[in-house]
């Protein structure tokens, strides 16, 4: 959470925030999770505030999750995507954002394919900005909901052993999670072929292995990333079949485990690639639990930004 000269608070990256912020947000997310279990799933906390969802890259769950979070706090929400707005007429991000703010928006939630665009936005608009995923940079609310899920399921974060498997290089989810897990004192092991790891990744305070079986014997949490099918065309690895054999959570691998880790996935899953369909069915409750947690965590974030908790 950073604050600009005009007193607006932003959530741009996990790299920006400290441990205390993460923990207190996870604490308050627990209260917001309770709101979603009530017969009337709405509290008046952000009544009269307006939040704009500016999603310039395809997204289902994050966009809907932010929209529900805002609505359950009684904020008004306007959502628009690249294809239905003036963006498709060539309006620049800057002009779009200025238009929104001229209409009296209190916060902009932005998803953009260029890393750093949320940060740029803070210089142009007089309101709060939330990063809902920017290029290959960060996806802070995803990391927060993942930590929330780990803490609720396993009871602790400090000393937790988390293995992240897959395309680390292109993953903003991995990047945000590595930062967040480091800050709360968890241990991180990356599992991937060298071709899917960013350069100088060791500097982020993580261990690396090429063996999923080694990771499975070690971890408390197995975090599978989505393999983007277009990476095969880029020759990052020989074939999907090859990837699955080496890095996929197959039924055989899963059945052979004596101590089963918590399996998580940011969605959408590629069944048959990073996880075999039958295993996916078995661990589905955790993954849908991540989605449910997403609403609570985003309520906590929006409330923290707009609830005026710091003056």
């Amino acid at each position: 959470m950073s604050e600009d000269g005009n007193g607006h608070r932003h959530l741009l990256s996990i790299a920006d925030v400290d441990r205390d912020f993460i923990i207190s947000l996870l604490d308050s997310a627990r209260s917001f999770a309770e709101v979603s279990t009530r017969p009337i799933k709405k509290v008046p906390a952000l009544r009269g505030r307006t939040i704009a969802n500016l999603f310039l890259e395809p997204s289902t769950r994050t966009r809907i999750s932010f929209e529900l979070a805002a609505k359950r706090l009684s904020a008004d929400v306007i959502s628009f995507s690249g294809s239905t707005s003036s963006i498709s007429k060539g309006e620049s991000l800057k002009d779009t954002a200025k238009t929104l703010v001229a209409m009296g928006v209190d916060a902009v939630v932005i998803r953009h394919s260029s890393a750093g665009s949320p940060k740029m936005l803070t210089g142009w608009v007089d309101c709060s900005v939330v990063n809902a995923g920017d290029g290959m940079h960060e996806h802070p609310t995803q990391a927060l909901l993942d930590l929330f899920t780990m803490r609720e399921r396993l009871g602790y974060l400090e000393g937790l052993k988390v293995a992240i498997v897959g395309d680390i290089d292109h993953s903003r989810v991995a990047r945000s999670n590595i930062h967040a897990l480091n800050k709360v004192g968890a241990e991180v092991l990356l599992v991937a072929p060298r071709s899917l790891l960013p350069q100088r990744i060791e500097g982020m305070g993580v261990d690396i292995t090429g063996s999923l079986d080694e990771a499975l014997g070690w971890c408390d949490v197995l975090y599978l990333l989505r393999i983007q099918l277009e990476r095969v065309e880029e020759s990052r690895f020989p074939s999907l079949r090859e990837y699955t054999l080496q890095y996929g959570l197959t039924q055989t691998r899963w059945s052979n485990l004596k101590r089963k880790p918590l399996v998580m996935h940011p969605g959408p899953m590629n069944r048959g690639v990073e996880i075999e369909s039958s295993v996916a069915d078995e661990v589905e409750s955790v993954i849908t639990g991540q989605v449910t947690a997403g609403v609570a965590v985003r309520m906590a974030v929006l409330y923290d930004l707009l609830g005026g908790s710091h003056g």
Binding site: S28, S31, E34, R38, A45, G307, G308, S309
Partner: protein, 182 residues
Amino acid sequence: MAFEARAKVLDAEDLNRIIRRIAHEILERSKGSDELALVGIRTRGVFLAQRLGEMIEEIEGKPVAVGALDISLYRDDVATRGASKIGVTEIDFDTNDKKVVIVDDVLYTGRTIRAAMDALMDFGRPQVVQLAVLIDRGHREVPIRADYVGKNLPTSGNEKVKVLLEEVDGIDMVEIGEEREP
């Protein structure tokens, strides 16, 4: 700001007697503990509600539903005062057609109770909602009054009433005093 106590208003025994009296009053007015539920406002109201619940169980011989309400998300001053740390609301019983008694430690402006009623109504439609407070210190800003009062304590605006409870503070005591710049 530091709290400077001027006088002790209630001690542990006084508090116990008040809980006992209010428990009897609630039972008298509700004609027993059927359909009765107690909902404490976080933080200290919750402990008072639990004590009242235990007392009622002791008198009637059967348990009574006790819940906890966090009203941070219903406050009317979030924008000006800033958001406080949010606690969890726990109402794991059906409030529909129940006789609900809201329990809090100090009744002052009445705004907390206004928020609590809004919060409570989101859980269902109770038959009756009543209010029990340990201390009523006056200075209402909204038309709200308590049905059960432990002690009326006329105060001035710059005075402060401090309620200490065993469960959180390690001692049962109510003091009146002033906030002073340290």
